[in-house]
């Protein structure tokens, strides 16, 4: 990079840093108490802000330069396709042993690590499936569902209520949750069929909020804000497990469900249905004109995503034995969206990585756990600006062609 442009970046970053410090000065430095009529000044924060924002601004300008150069190179046809991460993941000599190691670790995890750790991993796995489910709706079919958490709530409350009122067990409710999820997915899908991208997003957001508010206020049905507790853990043919055993049990159930979901998603992606979703995402009008029934495709995408979320809801309820509406806010939907976006819309491996990063990292970096949502927000912006394709760039399959004359 030329010296003049480095100097330019330094100058721009200095200006940006001063501006940001000015912008954040009152909020970060001043603390008022209008009751006691006191004012606290925290000048150290100003220093942090100046330094931190200078570094960030520098980083930002550097990344911007890189992005612009990349765009120019792509336009001129000279870009190197694969990134470092991409190259690693496509090298079979590396991937196979990595996968094998991963399986081994996953298989023995509960016996090596504590119950606390296992619970964390279960959480991460739940988000993996949620991410994969939303990936079908958003990543494959391009339908931005901001109310996805509503389906999660459907499954969770389905198990909670059926267990509370009718003492139905986990395994009985699981398929019911799936069916209910599909049903609600269709229910949401029908009214939004004609809607364009951003309107679709807002309507689904509205639906999500309505579901949560109803759960909060219709106390006679849902027990209101205090939620439902003492939900039964999953058993096996009548055997009731202790907390530790149940956790391990749920872990293996989740592992199986994750593998199943990955299998289903991968198969769907590379199929007639998957291609029709991709076409739907790219250009609805051309899609319809080429003989694809948009309505059916959209409804299927919604229903499938909803089914997965609903099943996860049931597992969530079984794991925490307690559900209340506060677990199903818009923030949850946003988080799952962040996972899909970060991972790379449409990429299975990307979503898994995204879920692990966004869920596990905060757990293991306890010092930063307060900043988790802040980092989420920043991540979404940064990914969209600098790497909209996500961690794992989706690559289209190369087909095997039988070159005989037709």
């Amino acid at each position: 990079m030329a010296a003049s442009s480095i100097l330019n970046n330094l100058k721009k970053s200095a200006i940006a840093s001063l501006w940001l410090a000015f912008l954040t000065l009152p909020i970060m430095v001043i603390r008022v108490d209008t009751v006691e009529k006191t004012v606290t000044w925290r000048w150290m924060h100003l220093a942090y802000m100046l330094a931190g924002s200078f570094v960030l601004a520098l980083f930002w300008h550097f990344m911007m330069d890189r992005r612009d150069r990349g765009a120019a190179a792509r336009a001129a046809g000279t870009s190197q396709a694969a990134s470092a991460l991409g190259r690693v993941l496509e090298n079979p000599k590396l991937v196979k042993p990595l996968l094998a190691m991963g399986f081994l670790v996953a298989a023995v995890f509960p016996y090596v690590f504590s119950m606390y750790q296992t619970n964390i991993l279960i959480s991460a796995l739940i988000y993996v499936v949620l991410g994969l489910g939303l990936n079908i709706t958003v990543g494959l079919a391009g339908l931005l569902d901001l109310g996805y958490v509503a389906f999660y709530a459907v499954g969770a409350y389905a198990y909670a209520l059926l267990n509370m009122h009718f003492q139905l067990g986990f395994w009985t409710v699981l398929p019911l949750a799936a069916i209910m999820g599909a049903f609600f997915g269709l229910l949401l899908g029908f009214p939004v069929l004609r809607l364009r991208g951003d309107y679709l997003a807002i309507v689904t957001l509205g639906f999500g909020q309505i579901v949560r508010l109803v759960l909060e206020n219709w106390s006679s049905f849902s027990q209101g804000p205090s939620g439902i507790s003492n939900i039964a853990r999953p058993g096996l043919f009548g055997i009731n497990y202790s907390v530790e055993q149940a956790t391990t049990y749920i872990y293996y159930i989740m592992l199986a469900l994750v593998i199943l979901t990955i299998f289903i998603t991968a198969r769907l992606k590379d199929s007639r249905i998957g291609r029709s979703w991709l076409a739907l995402r790219e250009d609805e009008i051309a899609c319809q004109a080429m003989g694809i029934d948009n309505t059916k495709a959209k409804l299927m995408a919604f229903a499938l995503g909803a089914t997965l979320a609903s099943v996860m809801g049931a597992v969530f309820a079984a794991k925490t034995t307690f559900v209340n509406p506060a677990s199903f806010t818009f923030m949850e939907s946003a988080m799952i969206l962040a996972i899909v976006v970060l991972g790379g819309m449409g990429s299975v491996l990307g979503v898994i990585l995204g879920a692990f990063l966004l869920i596990l990292l905060p757990e293991y970096m306890r010092a930063f756990s307060e900043y988790r949502m802040l980092i989420f927000g920043a991540t979404m912006i940064l990914v969209m600006v600098f790497r909209p394709q996500g961690l794992i760039r989706a690559k289209r399959k190369v087909y095997k062609i039988n070159t005989e004359a037709a």
Binding site: R267, S271, I285, A286, Q288, I292, N294, R396
Partner: protein, 266 residues
């Protein structure tokens, strides 16, 4: 190919109103089996609106649109859903190219095969022998179509990276993949230089022969239209003002008055 007098598409007295605006007025048009029919006229004459009306994107306010697919039975397709029109056998391309940018050329054509295949969710997940055969068949056929339009070399290129002329040909290949009896081309030669236009013309003739399709095209390039079409319809302000063979139409004073005489260099 033998041109018979059986119609494949018969539009009678079709009108289209958008609120107060009368975009199409009592349009009569017929495409017979094996024909190449051109629809020409100044910009804003209603040609693309016409296409949209017969493919179900709009529902005509008045009139009849009758299609005669390969099984021979007459079908009224006013306002029929666009995907069903395609399934029936009428496939189109678009004035502003509408490919699927992040799919490869091969995959774009494979989309065309969607309405001729049937694997559903279960088939996708289980991937039994039937589904696998169907998938391989889709791939092979699509590849063959790419070869027909000369794009087999770029089969695995993203369609957004293809040059303009290649994109237009790809759109045609995709339309062909749906096994149509009638191909609707909306300004296929737009933006092409004379050499490319000549190649396109030859391709259309070849396609008509090999695939036994009839063609209805909207075009501005007069040289191409005159040398390629069997019959022409001329539209102006939503009405058909003249119809006939290229010779008849180019001699019609109405048409000359309307806009002929300008050499379109696309």
């Amino acid at each position: 190919m033998e041109q018979t007098n059986t119609a494949v598409l018969s539009v009678r007295n079709m009108s289209m109103n958008f609120g107060g605006l009368r975009a199409l007025s009592e349009v009569d048009l017929e495409v017979r089996q094996g024909e190449v029919v051109a629809l020409i006229g100044p910009n804003g004459a209603g040609k693309t609106t016409f296409f949209n009306c017969i493919t179900g994107i709009y529902t005509p306010t008045e009139g009849q649109v009758l299609a005669y697919p390969r099984d021979g039975k007459e079908k009224r397709i006013n306002g029929m859903r666009t995907n069903l029109v395609c399934e029936l056998g009428m496939a189109r391309t678009f004035q502003n190219i509408r490919l699927f940018p992040s799919m490869t050329a091969l995959e774009n054509v494979m989309i065309g095969r969607h309405c001729r295949t049937k694997a559903g969710i279960l088939g996708a997940i289980l991937r039994g022998p039937g589904t696998r055969r169907e998938e391989q068949d889709v791939v092979d056929r699509s590849y063959q179509l790419l070869k027909k339009v000369g794009l087999e070399q770029v089969a695995n290129e993203y369609s957004r990276n293809l040059p303009y002329g290649a994109q237009r040909r790809l759109e045609i290949a995709r339309a062909l993949a749906t096994d149509p009896f009638l191909l609707l081309l909306d300004e296929p030669a737009a933006g092409m230089n004379p050499q490319e236009t000549l190649e396109l013309k030859e391709m259309v003739i070849k396609i008509r022969e090999e695939f036994q399709v009839s063609v209805l095209l909207i075009e501005h390039d007069m040289k191409m239209v005159m040398s390629l079409s069997d019959r022409i319809y001329v539209m102006e302000y939503g009405r058909v003002i003249s119809t006939g063979t290229p010779a008849e139409v180019s001699a019609d004073p109405q048409v000359i008055r309307a806009y002929l005489g300008e050499e379109s260099d696309a």
